[in-house]
C-alpha cells in the first residue's frame, strides 16, 4: 500500500512518513497512559492504606453493568480492527460499515454507563447532589470520588473516540479520504479507540473487581 501514499512535507519517502505517523500516535498514547496512570496510582495507594473501606465501596459498584460494558467495548474494538483490515484492502464501504457497528457498540456502552450513573445517583453515591449513602461517610468516599473521576474521564475519551470514528467513517464513505492510499487515517483512529478500550480494561478490575 505504501506506493499509493501521498507524501507531505518534510518527508522524502512513504515508509518514513508512515513510521513517523505511527510513532507520533504511540507517543501521544504514552502521554494518555500517564494521564490515567496518575489516577490509577492514587487508587493503588489508597487501597493499600484502607483495604477494607475500598473493598466495601467496590461492593457498591454495579458489576453486571460493568461486565456487559466490557463485552460491548471489546467487541467494538474487534469491529475497528476489521475496519482497519478493510481499509488496507481498499474496501471503502466495508470501512464505513465496520466503523458504524463499532460506533453503535460504543454508544451502547455510554448509554449503559448513563444508567449506571443514574443508579449511583439514586443510591446516594454521588458527591454534593442527591441522597447521601452511609458508605460515603468513611474513607471509602475518596475511592468513590476517584471512580467518578476515572470513569468520567474515560467517558470523555469515549465521546472523543466516537466523534473521531464517525468523522473517519464519513470521510472514507464519502470518498474524501481514499483507501488504501489514506488508510493510515483509519489506522490512527483505530489505535486511539483500542487505547480507550485498554483504559477500560484497567478500570474494570480496579474499581469493580476489587471487592475481596
Amino acid at each position: 500500500m505504501a506506493e499509493h501514499v501521498t507524501l507531505t512535507e518534510p518527508y522524502v519517502e512513504p515508509r518514513q512518513q508512515r513510521q513517523a505517523d505511527f510513532m507520533g500516535m504511540y507517543v501521544f498514547l504514552g502521554t494518555e497512559t500517564m494521564l490515567f496512570g496518575g489516577i490509577f496510582a492514587l487508587v493503588f495507594a489508597y487501597r493499600t492504606l484502607h483495604p477494607d473501606a475500598v473493598a466495601e465501596a467496590a461492593r457498591h459498584m454495579r458489576l453486571w453493568i460493568a461486565t456487559a460494558n466490557t463485552a460491548l467495548l471489546l467487541t467494538s474494538s474487534l469491529f475497528v480492527a476489521l475496519a482497519v483490515h478493510a481499509a488496507r484492502r481498499g474496501g471503502r464501504r466495508a470501512v464505513a460499515g465496520w466503523l458504524g457497528l463499532a460506533i453503535a457498540f460504543g454508544a451502547a456502552f455510554l448509554a449503559l454507563k448513563g444508567v449506571e450513573y443514574w443508579k449511583d445517583y439514586t443510591e446516594g453515591l454521588m458527591p454534593l447532589i442527591g441522597p447521601h449513602a452511609s458508605v460515603r461517610d468513611g474513607p471509602a468516599a475518596l475511592f468513590i470520588d476517584l471512580y467518578f473521576v476515572a470513569t468520567g474521564l474515560h467517558a470523555i475519551h469515549m465521546t472523543v473516540g466516537l466523534t473521531l470514528l464517525g468523522t473517519i467513517a464519513t470521510l472514507v464513505g464519502g470518498r474524501r479520504k481514499g483507501v488504501p492510499s489514506q488508510a493510515v487515517v483509519v489506522e490512527m483512529g483505530g489505535l486511539y479507540w483500542h487505547f480507550v478500550d485498554v483504559v477500560w480494561v484497567f478500570i474494570y478490575p480496579l474499581f469493580y473487581l476489587a471487592r475481596g
Partner: protein, 543 residues
C-alpha cells in the same frame, strides 16, 4: 512584524524571512523557523510580565514594613511571577524557540515531523497565555505557583480555576512539542546522521521531550482533580471529605520536579554547543554528556519526595528520596567537568556566547551544590521554605537556564537573522547579567540561612541590609536583561551581514546560508563525520 529585518543581502532575499511578508503568512506558517520566531516574541512578552511582578516584589522588600503592597497584593505578585516564569517562559523558552529553529537544521531535515501540530502548539500556548492575562486583569491568584491544597481548594480567594485552566492548556502545547521532537529526531535524520553523530543539543532536547510527554499529563490530571474538588466538592485532597492533602503534593511534584529538568536540560544542550564552538574543539566525553542527559531525565522522575521532607512523609521514604537526589548530582557534575575539560588547550575566542556559557557553568555549579545541601535531611529541616531555597532554585533557573537562553540568543542570532550584532555590547551585557545576578541572589542564601522565610513581605529589621543589596542587584539585572533587546534589534537593520558561519563552528546549521532558505538545505545533506569535527580546516583539506 517587528522582528522582520530589512532584506538586503542576497541570502536574505531567498531566506525563510522573505517567504511572505503579510501577518497571515506568519500566523498560518508551518515553517519551524517562523514558528520559532512566533514563540520568541510571545515568550519575551511573558518574560517582561513576570519580570514586572519580580520588580514589585523586590521593591516591596526594600523596607521591613512591607509598605508598597498589601499582604494579599504581595501574595498575588509572587504567585503571578512564579506561574508565568515557570510555564510561560522557562519551560517553553529554549525548546520552543531554539529547539524548534535548530533541531531540523542540526539533523539535516526540511522541517519537524508534524509541522501543523507545531503551529497548533503555538496557538495552544497563546490560548493558555490569554487565560493568564485574563487572571491578571481580574485580580490574580494568591496560592503560590505550587497550588498547595487545602489552601488552593478551600481558602484561596483568587481565580484558582482560571489559572489552573491556563496551566492545563499550556501543558498540551508542551506535550505536542515534545511529541514532535521525539518523532523528528527518530525519523527525520539525514542520511549518515547516526545517533552517535548527533549534536549534544539534540540529545538534551530528546531527554527533555521524554520528560515533557511523560510528566506533563500527570500535572494535567492533578489540575483536573484540583478543579473538581474546588468546583464539585469531590473529596480528593480535603480530609473532611475523605481525601488526603499530601496526595496533591505527591502528584504535583511528580510533574514539577521533572519540570526543573525540562528547564535545565535544554540549557545544558546549549552550553555543550557554545563551549565546543568557542574552544574550536571536540566536546570532551561526548557519550558521557549524551548519556548524562538521559540519566538526569530518568532519575529526575524519582526524586519528587525531597520537596516533602517536612510534610509528614515516612522517614524511610525521605531517606531514599534524599539518596536519589544526591545521585542526580553525578550526571550533572559529569557535564560540568566535561565542559571544563573541553576548554582545556582549546583555541578559545572570548565572544559573548562563551561569556554566557561561563556564567552558566559558574552559577549552575553554585545552584547544584546548594541543591546537594537541600537534599540532605538535616539541613533541609533548617532551611526549608526559607530564602535559601529561593536562592538555590534561582541559581539553577535564572543563573542557569536564563543565562543559557541569552547565550543561545547571542550564538544563533546571526543564523536566525543573518546579521551580526555588536560583540562589545554583548560582552558588556554578559558581564552585567553575571554581576547583577550574584548581587541579587547571593544575599538570599545568607538571608535564608539566618532564617528569613519565603513568601512574607514583612521581616525583622536586621535583615534589611541584605534585602537592599538584593534589590539593588535586581535593578541591575533588570537593566542587563533589557540591554540586549536594543542592540539585537538594532542589528536587524544595521548589523553587518553575518555570513553562513561567523563563529567558525562545526554543525550542519552552519553550512546553510544565514538566514537559512525556506527548506533549510538546497539538497539533503549527507553526513560522514562525527559532531564537533574540529579543526574545520581539515574538512576542506580532506575534500
Amino acid at each position: 512584524m517587528t522582528a522582520e529585518p530589512a532584506l538586503q543581502t542576497p541570502e536574505e532575499k531567498v531566506s525563510y524571512l522573505a517567504a511572505g511578508h503579510s501577518v497571515r503568512s506568519w500566523l498560518l506558517t508551518t515553517d519551524h523557523k517562523r514558528i520559532a520566531i512566533l514563540y520568541l516574541i510571545s515568550i519575551t512578552g511573558f518574560f517582561f510580565i513576570a519580570g514586572i511582578a519580580a520588580a514589585l516584589i523586590r521593591l516591596d522588600l526594600l523596607t521591613p514594613q512591607g509598605d508598597l503592597l498589601t499582604n494579599e497584593g504581595y501574595d498575588r505578585a509572587f504567585t503571578l511571577h512564579g506561574i508565568v516564569m515557570v510555564w510561560f517562559f522557562l519551560i517553553p523558552s529554549i525548546p520552543n524557540t531554539f529547539g524548534n529553529f535548530l533541531i531540523p537544521l542540526m539533523i539535516g531535515a526540511k522541517d519537524v515531523a508534524f509541522p501543523r501540530l507545531n503551529l497548533l502548539s503555538w496557538y495552544i500556548y497563546v490560548l493558555g497565555g490569554l487565560f493568564t492575562v485574563y487572571v491578571l486583569i481580574v485580580g490574580g491568584v494568591d496560592t503560590g505557583w505550587t497550588f498547595y491544597t487545602p489552601l488552593s481548594t478551600m481558602f484561596a480567594n483568587g481565580h484558582v480555576i482560571a489559572v489552573a485552566i491556563a496551566v492545563f492548556i499550556v501543558g498540551f502545547s508542551s506535550i505536542l512539542t515534545g511529541l514532535n521532537f521525539i518523532v523528528t529526531i527518530h525519523k527525520l535524520r539525514a542520511p549518515g546522521m547516526t545517533w552517535g553523530r548527533l549534536p549534544l543539543f539534540i540529545w538534551s532536547h530528546y531527554a527533555t521531550s521524554l520528560i515533557l510527554v511523560l510528566a506533563t499529563p500527570v500535572l494535567a490530571v492533578t489540575l483536573v482533580l484540583l478543579a473538581s474538588e474546588r468546583l464539585f466538592h469531590l473529596g480528593i485532597f480535603d480530609p473532611a471529605l475523605g481525601g488526603d492533602p499530601l496526595l496533591f503534593q505527591h502528584l504535583f511534584w511528580f510533574y514539577s520536579h521533572p519540570a526543573v529538568y525540562i528547564m535545565i536540560l535544554p540549557a545544558m544542550g546549549v552550553i555543550s554547543e557554545l563551549v565546543s564552538a568557542a574552544a574550536h574543539k571536540r566536546v570532551f566525553g561526548y557519550w558521557f554528556i549524551a548519556c548524562a542527559s538521559l540519566a538526569i531525565a530518568a532519575v529526575g522522575f524519582l526524586v519528587w519526595g525531597h520537596h516533602m521532607f517536612v510534610a509528614g512523609q515516612s522517614i524511610y521514604a525521605s531517606a531514599i528520596f534524599s539518596f536519589l537526589s544526591l545521585v542526580v548530582a553525578v550526571p550533572s557534575a559529569i557535564k560540568v567537568y566535561n565542559w571544563t575539560a573541553t576548554l582545556y588547550k582549546g583555541d578559545i575566542r572570548i565572544d559573548p556566547p562563551l561569556l554566557f556559557a561561563m556564567a552558566f557553568i559558574g552559577l549552575f555549579t553554585i545552584g547544584g551544590l546548594t541543591g546537594l545541601m537541600l537534599a540532605l535531611l538535616a539541613i533541609d529541616v533548617h532551611v526549608h521554605d526559607t530564602y535559601f531555597v529561593v536562592a538555590h532554585f534561582h541559581y539553577i533557573m535564572v543563573g542557569g537556564a536564563v543565562s543559557a537562553f541569552f547565550g543561545a540568543l547571542h550564538f544563533w542570532w546571526p543564523k536566525i537573522t543573518g546579521r551580526m550584532y555588536s560583540l562589545i555590547w554583548g560582552r558588556i551585557s554578559a558581564g552585567l547579567i553575571f554581576f547583577g545576578f550574584n548581587l541579587t541572589f547571593f544575599p538570599q542564601f545568607i538571608l535564608g540561612y539566618l532564617g528569613m522565610p519565603r513568601r512574607y513581605h514583612v521581616y525583622p529589621p536586621q535583615f534589611q541590609t541584605l534585602n537592599v543589596l538584593s534589590s539593588a542587584g535586581a535593578s541591575l539585572l533588570a537593566a542587563a536583561y533589557v540591554l540586549p533587546f536594543f542592540y539585537l534589534v538594532y542589528a536587524l537593520r544595521n548589523g553587518a551581514p553575518a555570513g553562513p558561519n561567523p563563529w567558525n563552528a562545526a554543525g550542519l546549521e552552519w553550512t546553510t546560508p544565514s538566514p537559512p532558505p525556506k527548506h533549510n538545505f538546497e539538497t539533503t545533506p549527507e553526513v560522514d563525520r562525527p559532531a564537533y569535527d574540529y579543526p574545520l580546516a581539515k574538512r576542506s583539506a580532506d575534500g
